[in-house]
Amino acid sequence: MTKAMKTASPIVIVGLVFLALATLSLGTGSMNIDPSALFSALLGTGDSGTSLIVWSIRLPRLVLAALAGASLALAGAILQGITRNGLADPGILGLTAGAGLAVTGLIWLQSNGIAVEPHWRPAVAFAGAAFAAFITAIAARRDGVIAPVRLLLAGIGMNALIGAATLVIAMGLDQQLYSAAAVWLSGSLSGAGWSASATLAPWLAILALALAAQTRQLDLLSLGDETAAGRGLAVDTCRLRVAAIAVGLAGAGVAFSGGIGFVGLVAPHMARLMVGPKHVVALPLAALCGAAITVAADLIGRTAFAPVELPAGIVASALGAPWFIWLMWNGKDQKG
């Protein structure tokens, strides 16, 4: 097998898995749609009832799940690279919680009559994630060095602290907004329309493009600071730049779908297991894995206990937490 095939075939395989999951997801629900009816609906030749379900309920939800999953996976891949720690992820480092606090604050403002346009939500979530990242990094820093273990511990502390603050704000909401906030915080894609994806997509596109220019820099950073500096990388500014991209991606990823945990942890590992650590191939594959995992989590959440719906975030955590524990047990961080 040639090197190009080795790289391409996982992308093709995961791509096919994603398409299969997407087809299944579009076809499954309170009304099941068989594949042929689904395709005619997608092509606009199906009956109007089916088309309505596909185009205005299931497809926007699918697209949002895929975009959010891809964002979180990319954020996780960056964080794991720059901290050289396979246990780093936007949830564990408190970024998701920070974004959650900010969005809950936004909902609180709304309940007090100050409405903010929903397309500002990614920016607000970004600000929350950036704030949490900043505090976590400060708390973890000692003698100018951020040790991986301290970073994880600081992240855990940050999560608890922000979680409490979020709860305090959420308690002050009326019943209806409170349940909206609670659903958001648990990572639900329920009721997602096209507007969320339409807001998210440009953010994601810009950040992904910025990231694409940094893949070699990420490769170098994963060799450690001194080796990277010896290859001519301005380590500190470069790390700050990619960390800002990661914060942006994490913020954007959770802005509409809420705190979907563990996708950012698991997807980069899956990608690296398949194609190795080079970011130029590992990043797109991680994004694809993240999209597939989130779509699968949403599908399971919608169907496993129907008509009761589990938020995708809860399903992802239920599946991702054992993986996290397995990683810890195996000591499978990235050193080789």
Partner: protein
């Protein structure tokens, strides 16, 4: 290609690591930095390579303060290999060697024929051509170290800086690595600045030995001038015989006891 340190001073918190140190690296030579643990040899190497910025004093690269050079421009002139570097799992030897091309490449630019040629040459020089597609994790310690040196070589710099490249290697691999360093100097004309723990290794390959003690230069010269019983007693705290290497004629030290009558060691 000149590298010159002028009145360098480093301290971490209250501990002085480098104290008013001046040193000029002579192009084309192998300069070995030796000294006891904590003598500042690693810190000096990193300062010479612009990895660490001294609290006072300056390093001049081609006569210009190294701080005024960009990291990328410095990396086109000199390649530093840190002590026991670590790579992520699943990286191949060729991938690693390719990272040395970073200072020569622009964003979004794939590796060109010049990059590939430089990588191939680095792999050939280090004897890693047949291992090019192997994963680093599957190699022996000696092979892995050669792969790292291939990364530094593909950078195509006049100067190579190596920080204790033989630590954690077994004896055969240490000898092999020292031979590689000598060859890179003799055949390729590369200037080499190398931090070594083993004085005898340093004496065997270096044109010049710089002995550091508590952040200052305690001795500087060719191995025969530097490696004396008196220096070994004063700097390393050992009583030793210094004999001539039967093969090369370079000095060889044989410590036989710890120096115990020194005033610092008195209770």
């Amino acid at each position: 290609m000149t590298i010159e340190a002028r009145h360098l001073h480093f301290h971490y918190d209250s501990e002085t690591v480098i104290n008013d140190l001046s040193l000029s690296i002579i192009p084309g030579e192998i300069t070995a930095l030796v000294g006891p643990n904590g003598s500042g040899k690693s810190t000096l190497l990193k300062a010479l390579a612009r990895i660490l910025r001294p609290q006072s004093g300056e390093v001049l690269l081609e006569g210009k303060p190294i701080g005024s050079w960009s990291a990328r421009a410095v990396a086109r002139k000199l390649a530093l290999l840190p002590q026991s570097p670590e790579a992520p799992m699943g990286l191949s030897v060729r991938d690693l060697a390719g990272y040395g091309r970073h200072p020569w490449r622009r964003a979004f630019q794939g590796s060109g024929p010049q990059d590939r040629a430089a990588v191939d040459r680095a792999l050939a020089l280090t004897g890693m051509t047949s291992f090019a597609d192997r994963m680093l994790g599957s190699l022996s310690g000696g092979q892995r170290q050669r792969a790292w040196i291939a990364m530094a070589l593909s950078q195509d710099t006049d100067v190579l800086m190596l920080d204790e490249p033989t630590s954690f290697l077994d004896m055969a691999h240490q000898v092999e690595l020292m031979q590689l360093v000598e060859r890179l100097n003799a055949e390729e004309g590369r200037t080499i600045v190398i931090v070594l723990h083993d004085l005898n290794q340093a004496a065997r390959i270096a044109h010049r030995m710089v002995v550091l003690d508590q952040g200052s230069i305690a001795a500087d010269g060719n191995p025969a001038q530097v490696m004396t019983a008196q220096m070994l007693r004063q700097v390393f705290g050992v009583e030793s015989d210094v004999i001539s290497d039967p093969r090369r004629g370079t000095p060889l030290c044989l410590p036989y006891s710890a120096y115990s009558s020194g005033p610092d060691l008195e209770p």
